[in-house]
């Protein structure tokens, strides 16, 4: 056993070099395959935030100003935010009848589902049409800097 390692002959050396080279290359390759996902993972995303309370973006806020309403995603759900006479309220935008997305009719001050003409008032209650239940309400908080935060009612 001892003798083998001590007697140094040419083919054995080149073989050992080859193995060391292979070892080095494969270690690097392996490290790369582990490091790549981790580096990608750690690089922060352009749009931060991970759900929870949703801040209205600048675009959405200006749309709200112009059209008096805007539909935004909150925790994966569509939410309609309505702005009427200094009062801002938010409801699930999913009609309780067949699940269409509702819209706001500024002229009539009602939330309207175009699919089957369901109408809701600005408390989410059904005014007319087939919807069986009122729209669920979301909490709206106006921040000191004018930003609007929408979150699920339950705290």
């Amino acid at each position: 056993m001892e003798e083998h390692t001590t007697t140094v002959d040419k083919p054995a050396t080149s073989r050992r070099h080859f193995i060391d080279l292979l070892l080095g290359v494969s270690v690097v390759a392996w490290l790369a395959s582990v490091a790549y996902p981790i580096i990608r993972y750690l690089k922060p995303l352009p749009q931060t935030g991970s759900g929870g309370p949703t801040h209205l973006t600048r675009d959405e806020a200006s749309k709200l100003e112009q059209k008096q309403f805007v539909i935004v995603p909150v925790s994966g759900q569509r939410v309609i935010v309505v702005n009427v006479q200094d009062r801002t309220c938010a409801f699930s935008a999913k009609c309780t009848h067949e699940g269409c997305t509702v819209t706001y009719l500024p002229g009539q001050s009602v939330i309207w589902c175009p699919c089957h003409d369901g109408r809701f008032d600005l408390n989410g209650r059904v005014l007319s049409g087939p919807p069986p239940r009122p729209l669920s309400q979301y909490a709206v908080n106006r921040q000191p800097d004018g930003g609007i935060v929408i979150s699920e009612e339950r705290a």
């Binding site: 083998h4 390692t5 073989r15 050992r16 193995i19 060391d20 292979l22 070892l23 290359v25 494969s26 270690v27 390759a29 392996w30 790369a32 395959s33 582990v34 996902p37 995603p73 994966g76 569509r78 067949e98 699940g99 269409c100 997305t101 175009p114 699919c115 089957h116 003409d117 007319s128 049409g129 087939p130 919807p131 069986p132």
Partner: protein, 512 residues
């Protein structure tokens, strides 16, 4: 009406006399004995729950019980048990304990057979029997109108039927036309009804008189026609909001069906055009989209008979007003139809609007194949028979059908793909957003078919077609992401494998 008022007043006098100035008395020893009595098997007649209920009664009610026992209106533990078992709220218990009619008739020691009001369910089925629970749950009983209100007599009198009329009189039992007038004595008097329920309408008789039911009963003197009690019941009348009421939304079809689904009852009745009145409406309704929604799914928003035909003024909606009934719920479709070319054509043929295509009682869930232009399709069949063969119409219908078909096909397909991708751990939120968009457009498009206009429909369908494109792109993206994961895995397995090989060779070399 005035007599009933005076009866109320008579009933109220002893109540106020009791309420003032009498000290709460201890429980009568006879009552205590009844509360603790045991039956032949040694089991307590008055159950522990009932005893707890008794303990919770206020002094006034206890005093009433004491008195009933002393005056031998309540004579046995069994009788006490049947009264306490009702677990009535204090107001009702008060009314009950001052009503000697009900007290005496619920005493199994004194009454038997048809005359005994018991809570046993068996007595509920036979109309001759009176069920004690029904009596006390009656909407009239609650308001202080009980037996004597209709039958006459003095409920506070100690005994007997001296004051009670045999009622209804024999001759009146044959023709029930008088019933409507009898109920109307109170129900058509707004001032009187206002005391009990200010929002209750008082126009029922007026409506009924002019309805086919009313004309048959009152003018034609045909006793097969229904009057108040046919639908509302006699004893144990409950408000329409009560699920046990015969006129509760879900029970209305069955109630109407007792006559209208019975060929024997309906024989001889005809439509204005002379054809016999059909009896298959209930069967058709049960299978219809409305019947399924109301009866199977329990959706109380779905219409029952009365939502289209009316309640007390029940009548078949005429040709001109069919669409008005439908528009109470389906307003978008109706207003689109009103603005369409079809409106004038239908008017010209004097066709009922909605029901021409969708049917009356057997309205099925709509189906995209209704738009087919070939044989069997609604559009095709009707246009071949009643319209000029207009190629533009055929093209429009084909376009509707193709667009809707593509949207629904894509929605189903992409939903499946999205679920599949989600199970593989991929992010499908964007795909699902497009699916919602697509679903919205599809639902809206199906409604906008009723505009029968290519342009109007196209505007509605456009977001759907956009969503189809977007969802397809997103699916491709998600699939390539999955491919990337697999390639990444292969690469990392290869690199690990290579490292393992290198280590293995090194190990062999070291151990040599």
């Amino acid at each position: 009406m005035r007599t009933i008022l005076s009866i109320f007043a008579a009933g109220a006098i002893p109540l106020s006399a009791l309420a003032t100035g009498q000290t709460p008395a201890a429980t009568d020893p006879k009552l205590v004995a009844m509360l603790e009595a045991k039956d032949a098997n040694g089991k307590a007649v008055v159950s522990p729950e009932e005893r707890t209920y008794f303990m919770g009664l206020n002094d006034h009610l206890r005093e009433l019980l004491n008195r009933a026992v002393q005056q031998e209106v309540i004579t046995s533990p069994q009788h006490l048990h049947s009264l306490l078992a009702l677990q009535l709220r204090p107001q009702k218990m008060d009314l009950l304990l001052q009503n000697n009619c009900v007290l005496c008739h619920s005493d199994p020691e004194v009454q038997s057979g048809e005359d005994l009001f018991s809570s046993a369910p068996a007595s509920h089925d036979s109309p001759a029997y009176m069920n004690l629970k029904d009596v006390v749950e009656d909407v009239h009983f609650r308001s202080g109108l009980s037996c004597a209100g209709c039958h006459g007599g003095d409920p506070t009198a100690q005994l007997g039927h001296n004051f009670v009329k045999e009622w209804p009189e024999k001759e009146r039992a044959h023709n029930r036309a008088w019933v409507v007038q009898f109920c109307a004595r109170c129900h058509s008097d707004p001032t009187f009804m206002h005391q009990f329920n200010p929002s209750l309408p008082t126009d029922q008789l007026a409506k009924f008189k002019d309805s086919p039911h009313g004309i048959t009963l009152l003018v034609k003197r045909d006793d097969r026609a229904p009057q108040c009690i046919s639908c509302h019941g006699v004893h144990g009348i409950r408000p329409a909001k009560d699920p046990q009421s015969k006129v509760y939304a879900q029970r209305v079809p069955e109630t109407c069906g007792t006559c209208h689904a019975n060929p024997k009852v309906m024989s001889g009745f005809t439509r204005p055009d002379g054809s016999p009145l059909p009896t298959n409406q209930l069967a058709e309704y049960r299978l219809s989209v409305h019947g399924q929604a109301l009866l199977a799914r329990g959706d109380l928003g779905a219409p029952a008979c009365n939502d289209c035909h009316g309640n007390h003024a029940a009548s078949p909606p005429g040709v001109a007003i069919v669409s008005r009934s439908c528009s109470t719920c389906h307003s978008a479709n109706v207003s689109l139809f009103d603005g369409s070319k079809h409106k004038q054509a239908f008017d010209a043929h004097s066709w009922p609007e909605c029901s021409k295509c969708h049917g009356e009682h057997a309205i099925k869930k709509t189906n995209d194949s209704m738009l087919a232009t070939g044989p069997g399709g609604l559009c095709g069949d009707c246009h071949r028979q009643s319209a000029k063969n207009n190629p533009e119409c055929v093209m429009t219908a084909d376009y509707f059908r193709k667009t809707i078909h593509e949207m629904s096909e894509t929605r189903d397909k992409v939903t499946k793909i999205s679920d599949n991708l989600a199970a593989k751990g991929l992010d499908v939120e964007a795909i699902n957003n497009q699916l919602t968009e697509l679903n919205d457009a599809l639902k809206k498009s199906r409604t906008y078919v009723h505009s029968f206009s290519r342009n109007t429909f196209q505007q509605t369908a456009a977001p759907g077609e956009e969503a189809i494109q977007k969802s397809k792109t997103l699916v491709t993206k998600a699939r390539s992401e999955y491919k990337f994961r697999q390639i990444g895995l292969a690469a990392s397995i290869a690199s690990i494998g290579l490292l393992m090989l290198a280590i293995y060779l090194k190990l062999r070399q070291l151990e040599k």
